[in-house]
Symmetry: D3
């Protein structure tokens, strides 16, 4: 992440808005000691929040599922998020956009051995800049999706519909796929052999005229995923939620990842197979175009513009 920008930004931390670099947590906090923390991440387009309320509501679903009480209402959470954004607006360059992140820990365990009673959750609301140049070229080349030998965590251990931060297994999978291709993105299989999701993105294929995505048994019920389905609906592209296996991707016409930051990236290779034509396809073009229109921002141009800036 670009440290220069980040240092100048401010962040909400347990009741105060402070310089981001001061948001530090003692190592005994359960976020560090146990991976006990949840998060949500919205973003702005042209400095306007996109689906912020949806993200905050999902943040409350995640918090309830892990038994964390933030001590404030969703309205209050939204109000603070917007205040952080407003405070940072002067620091955001015109063509740049930012994340709108909420994260909270379980706090500290008051009772050491055996007991289990937490207090003082650490709540952080931040709006760091999006690092658009990092992925701008992938709109053209597409992504290489690779399935690691590591399997996604089963829901009877931890439900991936919780947007949690206990993701060491995903880091290990990510290292595996980088050994195949340093630019590859992970695409995890579940224990049954169905494809699920990337470390930070949902997954889609377009095949036989239908936009298809895995059910959320082993995947985040993503807000970008929901946006994909809405846009497809508007474009009269039929959609379905179903079990997707490697065979389906190998023989799909197109495939995609979607996430808050980059919205949609085409998948043009899968486990070293060429997907479709091997280039971003027409369904990708229609979807990213529709998304751009919806947010009044040319998503790809914005990302590439930032590359140009950096080069000059």
């Amino acid at each position: 992440m670009n440290e220069k920008y980040k240092k100048e930004f401010v962040t909400y931390f347990n009741g105060e808005i402070v310089p981001d670099s001061e948001v530090k947590v003692h190592y005994s906090d359960s976020s560090m000691a146990l991976g006990y923390s949840v998060v949500d991440c919205a973003r702005t387009f042209s400095h306007r929040p996109f689906k912020l309320r949806d993200h905050i509501e999902r943040f409350y679903l995640s918090m309830k599922a892990v038994r964390i009480d933030p001590g404030m209402s969703p309205d209050e959470m939204e109000r603070i998020t917007l205040a952080v954004l407003e405070a940072n607006i002067p620091r955001i360059e015109p063509e740049m956009d930012v994340w709108l992140n909420q994260q909270i820990s379980g706090g500290k365990n008051l009772r050491a051995i055996g007991g289990f009673e937490f207090a003082d959750p650490a709540l952080i609301i931040s709006s760091p800049p999006l690092t658009l140049p990092d992925y701008a070229h992938l709109y053209d080349t597409g992504v290489h999706a690779v399935t690691p030998s590591i399997r996604h965590i089963p829901p009877q251990t931890l439900d991936s519909k919780i947007k949690h931060k206990s993701r060491l297994f995903m880091c290990m999978g990510e290292f595996e796929v980088k050994a195949v291709d340093p630019e590859a993105f992970s695409l995890f299989m579940d224990l049954k052999g169905n494809l699920t999701e990337n470390k930070g993105a949902n997954f889609f294929i377009f095949s036989n005229g239908i936009l298809q995505t895995p059910k959320t048994d082993n995947a985040l019920d993503g807000i970008s995923r929901a946006t994909m389905l809405e846009l497809a609906n508007k474009l009269d592209i039929p959609t379905s939620e179903k079990d997707i296996q490697p065979f389906h991707v190998i023989n799909a016409e197109e495939a995609f990842f979607c996430s808050t930051s980059y919205c949609i990236l085409p998948i043009t290779r899968f486990n070293s197979f060429t997907v479709g034509s091997g280039k971003p396809g027409p369904v990708f073009q229609r979807l990213i175009q529709a998304w751009s229109e919806r947010v009044h921002t040319d998503i790809i141009a914005q990302a590439k513009g930032r590359v140009a800036d950096k080069v000059s």
Copy 2:
């Protein structure tokens, strides 16, 4: 944890020894952002380290398995740990003992979306006091072990032989068992229905004259577990590693948890069944006695002494 003491202790943090309360990590560190961190925990008995080298060597196994390079040798790690202990000795009351903990994060991800390249791992070496009074009474009453409906993480997702901090699923299981009995300890089943381990302890039964413990397929290869096997060997108690199922515990003569802090606690109830006589049994007495002798410290008396202090 007792904040009064803790604040006075010092801790090693990325090259310096500083007051423990100053050991704070920015929220973008991968330990908070991804649960990407590993740990090891030894302790002192009568202010002398116990099996410190074994713990440090296991710490290096965990680090290798998650691809973290601490940038120093095990000798150096041991030297720093002893330096932290020495610095804190004046702060440790005579009848008290301390943890000897090493923990490290993956550091920060230098490349935001898609990329995966980490730098600046956060290394923390600390010796906080053991909160002996919290569990002193359990040497007499025994523990109620309860299996949550949540299953242990399978090794093809994340190997529990890595002493990691991505433990949200374990917190969720712990909450489940506390609903059965606020003093209960979790005992996780794996996906096949075998018992594995507690959130922070290995598990044993004594049955048909044999001290038995699960294989480490789904459990930490614990150093306290190894001590148990060594002590049993010395006491001529036969041991075996095998799959243990709830039926075995229900009908065992005795059962135990073992961990660095409390060494051994008897399990006297399991899923609301009485185990054996329902009281700490003779094998427990022999093992804790042998452990006490080995460390030249009356483990139970020490724990109970602290309770007395607190009360007065």
Copy 3:
């Protein structure tokens, strides 16, 4: 069960209608020796049978699946059931209702070791009184549904669409959940971590405007479940059959059990999480109202009236 009433009732037993207390089976019958028996249970509303034919037809499905031949047609079975009801009518208090149960065993194994040839199935058709007061208060408080650590029997071992009586594993799960809360109802997970059913009831959630229930892969294809779907359809509530995981219940607006006896009970707590508002919700009110209208009986009032009677 209320012994006073029951003794007075009559029951069909292998060709005769006899006092219920005389319906006793030798311990060598396969129902006792092997759990080899199936059952079905309808009930009356205001003394009129409800969906009796549907229950009898399902009884024939269960019998076929376990290779028991009752030696009579469904028509004959229905006729006898009605005759038992008629015989008991004078014994049923006006505000009371009864079960209409058919059960049959595999009979006796004619060949002892190795052989497998059964004869003389024991057929019992009874109409014991419904013990309405036992659950009347739950229409107001709602039920606490709890998932035991025990998993539902997989269909490749025994299909739960067969309404069988080989339910020891369910008893064991029920004991586990009573340890959490003596009033809790079991809600079993299958081996994959999906929720299935209660020991004697199907399970529903209402979420995102849709009434949802697990597929019948690991659950009875319940006739009350079918009634729920019919009533929802009539009330223009969309429905779907899908995999439901704990996360979905924790964040549902409402949840329910449905069964022949109590029709619908609201679930207001799940694994100690509050479900929705923690009180019976509007969808419950609409469904129980519609069911009451369909059977010309105020279901809740009837149950509560019996409580009053008992008290006075």
Copy 4:
């Protein structure tokens, strides 16, 4: 079973010794209503009990595991069993032997819907005659063991180390194997594909000079199984407990079932493969000989003698 003899025998039933034909249980008892019952089965050799105490102790393990309290001590249980045997001795023909069975139900559920509180367990202690002729010829021909497509119940649903009577799934498997061969015996696979046990017997192979039997993860910890291991030990035949797969049986030198009644039967065919020579082998001969010596009864001759009687 031979009704003529059986009617004459007496049986203990809830405190009294009565003619066996009077031991009948109301259909509301949980043994019939829920398959909630456990059992144990010893036998006599030449009218002397064999390992009766071991069986009674295992009966207490089973009862504890399913939370049934018989209200008497093992000594009392043994005393009653011997009293039943003694009462029946005059009815037992000299060359005949009997079972020594204990079985108990969970009793009646005192609270109907939702509640779970049992009382009045039905305890039955009986000594019916062994139907030796039914299997006498199998000592010569050997048994055809067949694996049904139905899988054994997993231990996280119900532990097969409990000798329970909730065995409908086993009946269904038995019907499947009888379709292959009316004389075939079932041999169940577990969900992982390992062989486990027969409906009423443990399973062994002899291969590479070692007598091998599955671990008890998915099988009864049989007392006949223990006898096999003891006899092998005495005969200097090495033994091991290990995962056994169909390949191992197909290529074994010999294979066996063992159970209380017939002690050992050779398996000479497996899934229509010939096992070893296709005839009872030398290890079978040595084991059955050693068993006969141990119980001072020629096991095979006794069985065949009864056949002769029947024919004449």
Copy 5:
């Protein structure tokens, strides 16, 4: 197969059309050495190809999934297939029809140990006669479908949507079901206990007015399966893809296999249960009639006619 006819037929083999008996492959080819080969099979009706292009397109899907490049376009493949058919037309008796098969191997491994680089795939395009008489009687009697104890290969090992020739496990299952009934057809369960497909056919049930077939998670996405769904649609029979378990077949009204050669065969027995009436049912009649009309060939009459020829 009828050798007399077959010898006279010609077949395409790596660039040439040669007498079929000359199409022989060296044993070092990966089709023999590793089971590394894929196939597709169309047929003619009244000497006209049926859905040939669909089969060829699926052949290209299979080839891509196993990384075989045939070195020609689908158009060229189709052209050659038609040329083979044309060459054989004079050899085909008027009332007879033929297969239209493409198969290809991975070729030879150029690098022996460790390396993996293939060349010279063996491509064979043939049109052998259909052996109609072999199954003509099954249109009247129906088929006995039997589930072996062997489970279908899971998709995370090998995807059954690839029409491959690495089918030893299926042969083993087929032998198991022939032991039950020499005329039985295999119907494989997957590891979860759902029914999947026959060795060479897809599987359907008709139940509750709906034509149902397993999803293709563990089954070929069959072209005959697609034809079934198209015909049902034309006949206004609702269809669905869902998990089907043995209980569903036992209680279905009708059941079917469908494949390229015989189109549809009724299943009248399943694991020795009678399915429906035990005779080919009305839905079978409607579907086979519609299929016959679509291909301008009386499918059953043609098969039976061949029987007559053979007899005379």
Copy 6:
């Protein structure tokens, strides 16, 4: 494979010894049509067969397990194998060695659709030259073992103790690992996450002073594996068969593949982790030395010598 030599060699094929290039099989043979074939592979050292009888006996185990009858005794099979070797001796260069392979197919299916009756198995006994230079350098560099995302076939589908040729899934895994590193060797995980074997080799680790190898639940019971255990025994290296997981390999001191051709190759990298020192270790040196002594052939020198020849 070296075509020049191979063409000159002779091979036994269904009763005759013929030039190897003439050993061709019609594509309708079940080895090509169904992957229905088994194999075994011994080799010579200095032109002398090694453990030939063990290989032939295992070949008979494999044949029995897949129901193929070769129509000859093991003695006859051995005699033919030696005759083939003898015939080829003049063609083998002095410093070269050869395979001694037996393979057989199921033959042809006599009945086309539904039926299953095979005849005319194709038996091939060959002694092609070992391509030693292909792997000579790996004795120095060691091998990079990589786990593909594809899982090994479960034993309830097909037992890997059968040395079969239905290995398409293994080819697919091999392609996956070559994408990580073109010189990598596959190391398959089973469905539970344990490591099993390579496409053509068994797998060992040396850790904590013990030579460890997976049980044969999901792996060939290899004759080279047996040799490893024998040599270790002779060298006083303790051995054990146990579940091995990636963590164990990452932290092992050494690791190995063993197979008929190369005997032992050190594994120096695993999933891009360095194993031990990253170089062939002392246990490898002792084992390969002991093996060389046993076969009176310097295994590594022989392999390297061939490289020299090729270069000159």
